[in-house]
């Protein structure tokens, strides 16, 4: 299996699986932490509130995920709330995050423009902050965003890509084998399909 999608009840699992399949990947959905086994690539999708997400992961997922991703270095990709859960904490909740990325999750800053409502919903151009194998810089990349919060990284080198909604915010993060996208590649047409393909092409 190329990809293991975590289903802990917080995500649009089916859409993510469909997009990986459209990108010619074998993607399984796992809803029991004991079945994570020797996953090669782990995807953590999620929508909704931060604490709801961490509570769901608290049902037996955190320990096996730490073992696979931190100890064994398995490739991981967090999507939307899943990306926020990779961080230490969020202004939205009180529970600690996974803490894999040195970042705090904060409310979006629209720069005071009253026409820019929160949540930010829609397609935004995503600009890579550096050369990387997930988000290329040679062609304009557009992705569908739906979010109120954003990651604020301690280390500039963990910022993978940015987008702008009133102000510029971090919309993708990466440290070592851990990747995160605030946007929804599974709902971003050919841009998302190509991103899934590139994730599948990373050595695992």
């Amino acid at each position: 299996m190329d990809v293991t999608i975590i289903d802990c009840g917080i995500g649009n699992i089916k859409s993510v699986q469909r997009m990986f399949q459209a990108a010619d990947g074998d993607a399984e959905i796992v809803s029991d932490p004991a079945a994570l086994g020797d996953a090669r690539r782990i995807v953590l999708p999620g929508v909704g509130a931060f604490d709801a997400g961490m509570s769901a992961l608290g049902q037996g997922w955190i320990e096996p995920l730490n073992r696979l991703v931190i100890e064994k270095g398995v490739l991981a990709l967090g999507i939307c709330l899943g990306m926020q859960l990779l961080c230490r904490r969020s202004e939205e909740g009180v529970l600690p995050g996974l803490g894999w990325i040195a970042a705090d999750v904060k409310l979006l800053d629209t720069g005071g423009d009253p026409k820019l409502k929160i949540p930010h919903m829609g397609w935004s151009v995503v600009t890579p902050a550096r050369e990387n194998p997930l988000i290329p810089s040679d062609e304009e990349q557009r992705f569908y965003h739906v979010h109120k919060y954003r990651a604020v990284c301690d280390r500039e080198q963990d910022v993978l890509a940015t987008a702008t909604y009133g102000t510029t915010f971090t919309t993708a993060v990466q440290r070592d084998n851990i990747w995160g996208a605030q946007f929804h590649p599974e709902k971003s047409h050919r841009f998302g399909m190509a991103l899934m393909r590139r994730f599948l092409a990373m050595p695992a």
Binding site: K117, M121, G122, R142, T164, H189
Partner: protein
């Protein structure tokens, strides 16, 4: 920076065998097969898609889950579904099939807490509250229910405020008198509603051109939805699915 979504809104009518387009919420005209239409819109890389079953509540039934699953599997963009959603269980089923957002209206009259119940599970961004406004014979905007459910509010503005307060992530504002007319959006209505709602407002009704979309967003809409504009062509309303090119939309809002 392009931040305004342009959303085709498709109306399902099982009694008429597929997709229809209405005129002022009446006179449904058959426009095609839903799966085929969704495939075409997917190929055209639309920003988002909205599918509303206009018969479900009126016929006292729930969503057609099998059909919706087929539609969702063709959508590599966000899909919003509305029509016949009675409770949180219906919404949960829809999300599990690959629908991103549910649009609510009639069920909220008996159960105003439904928005919060669904939002607590799936997030506020997943709940759209649909508000239909029609002018009275005196020209006064009033809440309207196509399904014939008596609205819970005397004033449409109260309905907007209550929807936001109850946890709606978006408001779908439908100018009923403009529906299908291709006569331009009701800008006064959009202006007033967007000032009341601090969540994104999707304006629909009357959109007939790119300039109309620009006018609607200038009036405060975060997104625009349209039906006739995307399915009819020419003065005889021949059915032809179209969608503006990305370059046109980018130029419109640059």
């Amino acid at each position: 920076m392009l931040t305004h979504r342009v959303i085709p809104c498709l109306l399902l009518s099982q009694s008429r065998g597929g997709l229809v387009k209405t005129l002022k919420f009446a006179k449904p005209k058959y426009v095609g097969d839903p799966i085929n239409a969704v495939k075409i819109f997917n190929e055209k890389e639309v920003d988002e898609l909205m599918v509303l079953d206009i018969d479900a509540t009126r016929e006292g039934r729930g969503p057609d889950f099998a059909l919706i699953e087929d539609l969702a599997s063709e959508c590599f963009m966000p899909l919003c579904y509305g029509g016949g959603i009675r409770n949180a269980e219906d919404a949960r089923t829809l999300f599990s099939l690959g629908v991103e957002k549910v649009s609510l209206q009639s069920a909220l009259v008996a159960n105003p807490g439904l928005v919060r119940e669904i939002a607590d599970h799936a997030g506020e961004q997943a709940v759209v509250v649909s508000i239909d406004v029609k002018k009275s014979w005196l020209g006064k905007p009033q809440l309207f229910s196509a399904a014939g459910v008596k609205p819970a509010f005397a004033d449409w503005r109260e309905a907007v405020k209550a929807a936001v307060a109850s946890g709606a992530g978006e408001i779908l504002l439908n100018a009923v008198d403009k529906d299908g007319t291709l006569s331009g959006p009701d800008l006064d209505l959009i202006r007033e509603a967007s000032a009341l709602a601090d969540v994104p407002l999707i304006a629909t009704g009357g959109i007939a051109s790119l300039a109309d979309m620009k006018a609607a967003t200038d009036a405060g809409a975060s997104a625009v939805a349209a039906g006739a504009y995307f399915v009819f062509q020419g003065p005889h309303r021949a059915v032809l699915i179209t969608y503006p090119r990305y370059e046109e939309l980018r130029a419109l809002w640059s």
